[in-house]
Symmetry: C2
Amino acid sequence: MNTHAIAAVLGTLRFDASGLVAAVAQQHDTGEVLMLAWMNAEAVRETLATGRVCYYSRSRGRLWRKGESSGQTQRLVELRMDCDGDALLLRVDQHGVACHTGRRSCFYRAATETGLAETMAPEVDPKALYGAG
Amino acid sequence: MNTHAIAAVLGTLRFDASGLVAAVAQQHDTGEVLMLAWMNAEAVRETLATGRVCYYSRSRGRLWRKGESSGQTQRLVELRMDCDGDALLLRVDQHGVACHTGRRSCFYRAATETGLAETMAPEVDPKALYGAG
């Protein structure tokens, strides 16, 4: 995406006191919600410029190029913004699995009458994603 | 949902320093992502106990029973939690429209090469939702 268009997006977003907006990733063709993470202005800029999704890791305090360790990248299909500009919906094509547990989606636990139940199994061994170390 | 099951959910959630978790609402049958809002423990408890979605309004500093003013309620179909317990996915049945602008979803603006473009029109006049005052 060109720099003028990127500037228009960045100028409309309302980042919080930490300089972040929430970002929901959704598989573009199935509608499955994959994960929720955070982006700062630089992560939004890089994602729109390259078409590869880049978040901001709050725990590591730096840009987090999704898949940089695991290879499980996300290609951006469409970036949407909500009505008050403090949340993003990333319509993506997920390569492999989104969750560090090896599951397709991070939202794999459901509340049931008997407590939390797992709704999906890992598709990949997490050790294969990040190494056994 | 019974109180033991609700306690299991609340005991697993990791609320932030403000006592909140992010909650993504998704129409359960179409997969459309409707909105992103926030919940505190009481909002989660009430939502699971009643089956009607209740958020926490950060701007108003109180519980926000979705649709209390507009009539555009959300019935909970399933509550899911992400891998690190700090985000919820609410699979809901949205009555009417989710967005205060009268649109089905709050995520109605998309980034394009010429800037932000509206991807959906209002289905309801916002004045009809909240009154003309």
